[in-house]
Symmetry: none
Subunit: 334 residues, 3 copies
């Protein structure tokens, strides 16, 4: 399953770098097609695959306007009620012929009945070519399940407050100076046949607000470096207003971590309260005109809460750094 | 209630100034969200707020691509059946931090029942912090009510004629009844790296205008059946205004042929004259709800030219029919 | 080379059939990618492939919202200066697995130098697997060359008049020279949950047509200065065709007033007549590259009606000027 498209001016920032959100949206479209097709491959109730989780995604190399994005998706594991899709994104410069891998992502989908969207159906089992594939997939499945439960607990018990901007009076480099909120009224083209917002649309908005926070903080050309695992706690329906808020939590010498919260508000439906639909940490880096990473101004933390979030961000940063070092060390020296 | 968004290339003209219309659209989106939310804040029939009037709006300062637009909306008055929303738009240059107020607007909304859109519901009363606010609001309400009545009188009694009044006076099924013209200002997303319009964009507009002509003629669900060979005589550059005109040339029992002409007008380039960029014949058929082709009302030709074009269209139709028959006959009988 | 995409509500008409134009646009995107890639496959001057001709295209079967369109493109012939691309479009219902061929198309591209867009470069020769392929391709090449020359002759010698030829014959700076009409078929994204057009969408189109009128009149960079109060007389429903017409009514030394009328035409609803949905006066100013307001060419009024409208415009202009002066005077001098 492969999807490709030319990158246009509206897909990119003013420096010509394609928004991370545009790429996330294409990744999710490919994932939705392949998993919906798989889940309907056997006779039975018709269903649509809904995005439940995206694993941490790194942006290995920026993509530019005029390049062709190739998005290849493959089903790599199925449990009783979920499908894992692995996606690789490659950019192609059709003038020079140069190709680069820009992203690798893993997404989890759940099949929902078209008749009753609260009913999760069974997934037809995948046929593996090697036995190890199934075993490795099961491990990834168990790991994500554990992590989803942890996040659920965190978001459920201690519901994080939304971010409220009163930023005009604030000093540069403080958290409240760059914090930003974006409101979006869900339209028909944002939605699946079911009337639910495509996961990719939500991710694009999350990246957009994180990009505004990062640009306000360092006032340079900024690009997405990675997006943390995102859990989609609940579906967002057509006609909702979604509020996407971003605040900076941590800066290293050359990177910024931004927390993004997505709240859905079913304005025209009395039945339902506003709820947290998703949340994630997005990491941005700042680039010079030549495309080199620049130093980032240090974040000024003021309140106790901000200090706590900074320390937690630092923890995530050091852990990821150690993980990468371990991967490098694991490669046998030639 | 606050809405913010980065201004993109497609939001602006070629000089980089954001279109006034883009800003008006954001203002209205903020107004619609806040007033719909207010009108549903008490238990009762669910409703949606529909725009009834926008007060005069000045554009105090131009906004540019790459700037962030902040649109703040506030409910400032409610009558029994209407809501006044005041909106302020500010542009922020996120690189320099500079902010300017670019617009102030006042909009009036009316709550319509979701069950019966012709029923206007009651608005929950606003709580004012100062007594003068209510009094001032009432004055604005009375003033706009008076002005609306005056306009209604003007438009109702002495209905202003349209600017191109031809169509209305024409008989159904004539060429001039369904003939249509579409103007498109070429934007960045329509163009290649070279700054030329993608051929596909032109073809999409050609099909769009042909579809409007066909729908006006037979007032049913119509779909494209075929598009003639199209030659692209000359490139269309960024910043051009393209005029796409369509007129019906021929009807058979179950198909309509529409001629489409594309003219490019390099408004901002003094050097060049308007020129014909492409032309084609598009054939449409009319479909029933079950997807079957329906009979098409016969085209009424009036002038000598129309008769000539009808005969030429008949020629193309018969030629194509013969060609298809020949293809069918060429298949060996089993 | 393959391109695929889910069909969304905005790609289709209200009956759910994908617009032929949407499919033509995807076909051309696939053709542009594969031919640009081929033309740059050998060392030499960098180029971009520009669409020169599309052969007759039949739409064999309608495509629907929610289906996946697969667009496969292949280079089938190259002459010294042109590339033939054959494209097949297939629709896939990912719920049932059903696939149908919906289109077959053939396109001709010409490589233009990126340094000098008027220079046509040479195409690297294609390697054929069977000798007949080259021979058949050459026949198609000769046939289209002949047909192009015939069309050129028709368009060149006997240049067909435009369908609304008024404008071309008019003198610059007259009302009819710059007067413009825009037709818009209301799509799903233009509408609220109710199926009514968002007021903001109408206002954006009103500003767009006024901007075209202003640009045609003064051929410079123009920006919206103000929009008059707008009353929304009646709702516009999904599936309507809206006609937005603009004509210049008045010019002062540095501003232009344009009257915009919006008429809604419920083409697919027999029950209702065309009606006036909104109207307004929009004021534009002309800007230099440095952002200073420029003088505006005086409007030439010809008919009695135009003179009357000019005087009324002057009245509004003077009234607004006096109002602003009064506001300035009202501010206490420090």
């Amino acid at each position: 399953m492969r999807l490709c498209r030319i990158m246009r001016p509206d897909d990119a920032n003013i420096a010509g770098n394609v928004h991370g959100g545009t790429i996330l949206k294409m990744i999710e479209e490919a994932g939705a097609i392949i998993s919906t097709r798989h889940c309907n491959s056997q006779k039975g109730e018709t269903c649509v695959a809904a995005l439940a989780r995206v694993e941490r995604t790194d942006f290995l190399s920026p993509m530019c306007i005029g390049e062709v994005a190739h998005v290849s998706a493959e089903i790599t594991y199925t449990s009783k009620h979920s499908v894992e899709v692995q996606v690789t994104v490659m950019s192609e410069n059709i003038l020079t012929g140069a190709r680069r891998v820009t992203n690798k992502a893993a997404l989890w989908y759940v099949p929902l009945s078209l008749k009753n969207v609260d009913k999760v159906l069974e997934v037809p089992p995948l046929v593996y070519t090697r036995k190890e594939q199934e075993e490795e997939g099961r491990k990834r499945y168990e790991a994500q399940k554990l992590e989803r439960m942890e996040t659920k607990w965190k978001n459920g018990d201690i519901m994080q407050p939304s971010i409220n901007p009163d930023r005009q009076t604030k000093e540069p480099y403080t958290v409240s100076y760059s914090q930003s909120t974006l409101i979006h009224l869900v339209g028909p083209s944002d939605c699946t046949l079911h009337g639910f917002v495509h996961g990719g649309v939500t991710m694009k908005l999350m990246d957009e607000v994180a990009g505004i926070v990062a640009a306000r903080h360092c006032k340079t050309n900024i690009v997405t470096a990675s997006v943390d695992a995102i859990n989609f706690h609940d579906k967002i329906r057509k006609g909702c207003v979604i509020t996407i808020s971003g605040r900076m939590t941590f800066t290293s010498n050359k990177s910024m971590e931004i927390e993004v919260l997505v709240d859905a508000d079913p304005v025209a439906l009395h039945s339902q309260e506003r709820y947290r639909a998703a949340s994630a940490f997005v990491t941005y880096v700042s680039l010079s005109k030549e495309g080199k990473t620049l130093p980032v101004p240090q974040l000024l933390v003021e309140t106790e809460e901000e200090k706590k979030r900074f320390e937690e961000g630092k923890g995530r940063y050091l852990q990821m750094k150690a993980k990468r070092q371990a991967q490098i060390d694991a490669v046998p020296q030639k």
